[in-house]
């Protein structure tokens, strides 16, 4: 069984607990063990950088150093945590002075960043370590007829790490195809959900959420799949507010990709955290085709 050091991040403790539980259950069923990091701390989201980048790197490096102790690579399910830890590791590996300074601080917690660890997003574990072919073989209940909008958001694919396609990535679609669903093509799949602007610049963020929902609905998606807790909260929890603000009538379920994979692997709903949604998926007992019928179109 392949193992990873698992960094859940603050959101997955509560607001995105269904992402946490479905991540653990689906990977387990696919032969991967996620071992939660001991005493991990917040990755800093986007805000440490406003105050002090050295502090931002140190806080991420603490988690990386804890992971290095286990000898395992780190997996983060949240896009912001992933981006922060990935680029912290990259910067520290390149900049010896920075690494030395950060390590000086880490001494206080008896830790040391050596630079041996790699950082992955959870969806990369499915796309690369498991792979769509293997996933397809394990599927027992393909989600036939389910039209899913794969929502990449930002920080999984940006900033660019190497030469990968940042404009038209396909790995999310490939995973959805592997579980028997139909990925819909919609123009805003890599556009931003607004992130923390939902709190600090509300009107701007609600507009961004509305545009995304509209784009998915126009492509006749009956569910949006996300790989980030913040995207999920913005698109789902704030759907009501979008409707109130713009007079729309959106009612699109926004599920974590791990929940959809879990359904295709016939993992019980409870073990996928299903039931905590603001916009529920239609009753699961119905044949799939009927369950995810065409959505109500926004007015």
């Amino acid at each position: 069984m392949k193992e990873f050091a698992y960094f859940p991040g603050c959101s997955l403790e509560k607001i995105a607990s269904s992402y946490h539980i479905s991540a653990v259950e689906t990977t387990k069923k696919l032969g991967i063990l996620l071992k939660e990091l001991d005493d991990w701390n917040c990755c800093g989201a986007t805000t440490y950088f406003y105050i002090d980048e050295l502090l931002a790197y140190t806080l991420c490096a603490r988690n990386l150093a804890i992971a290095e102790k286990t000898g395992l690579d780190v997996v983060a399910p949240c896009s912001a945590c992933y981006k922060n830890m990935f680029f912290t590791a990259a910067h520290l590996k390149k900049d010896a002075d920075l690494a030395d300074h950060v390590n000086f601080a880490l001494e206080e917690d008896n830790l040391h960043f050596k630079g041996t660890v790699n950082v992955k997003h959870l969806i990369e574990v499915f796309a690369e370590d498991i792979g769509p072919d293997e996933l397809k073989r394990k599927v027992t209940k393909p989600l036939e007829g389910m039209r899913v909008a794969p929502y990449y958001g930002c920080q999984i694919i940006r900033p660019q790490k190497d030469k990968e396609d940042v404009e038209q990535p396909q790995f999310f679609e490939e995973l959805l195809t592997a579980i028997g669903a139909t990925p819909v093509n919609y123009p805003l799949k890599v556009r931003c959900c607004g992130g923390s602007l939902i709190l600090s610049s509300r009107t701007a963020a609600l507009t961004m959420v509305r545009n995304l929902l509209q784009s998915a609905v126009d492509a006749q998606a009956s569910v949006i799949a996300t790989a980030c807790p913040l995207c999920q909260v913005n698109l789902e929890v704030y759907q009501q507010q979008v409707n109130q603000e713009f007079g729309t009538n959106f009612s699109v379920p926004v599920m974590y990709f791990t929940q959809l994979i879990g359904l295709a692997l016939e993992i019980p709903h409870k073990k996928l955290g299903i039931g905590k949604e603001f916009v529920a998926m239609a009753p699961h007992l119905l044949p799939v085709e009927h369950v995810w019928g065409l959505p109500r179109k926004a007015t």
Binding site: T47, I51, E53, C192
Partner: protein, 187 residues
Amino acid sequence: MTDTIPFSQEISNLLHASEGEPLKNCIQCGTCSGTCPVAGYMDNSPRQIIALINLGKKDQVLESNTFWYCASCYHCSVRCPQEIDITELMYALKRYSIWKNRYQEGLIGPTFSEAFVKMIIRGGRSFEPILATSYIFSFNTREFLQEIQGATELLLKGRLPILPARIKRLENFRRMIGRIIPMGGLE
């Protein structure tokens, strides 16, 4: 080493491992502004803010809401034909503005960031209810009620924490931070 430096150099100096003045490479093509999903809400678009920096308009830059409206989506950065990391520039401007304690009045961004970092330094982990106090009182009544309604529903669905999470080795953690930012009542 000259006697003084232009504003554009002062800003470039804030960038990660800066080399020279990347902002001077800007050709004002506007790809960033066309890409930015928030540009319509900014006082000055990303392209304009770079132009203002290069023109040395320090006050106008500091009074702009532009960088506080950046959602860190990095879309401009990956598309800039001159390879300017515009998102990083926005971070740098936020930092500059916070250090100078100068920003447009009424913005939630600065207060929110300060509350967030303070919270992490105290406990090591994020706790949404504390954070909420940094923005919710800036909302109008309707927004306030919508936010409360959302929070109540989250709570009922078991999606909001009641107690703040804290890391175990908090003392070590705080001393660690003290080695990066040498302030606070340590030792």
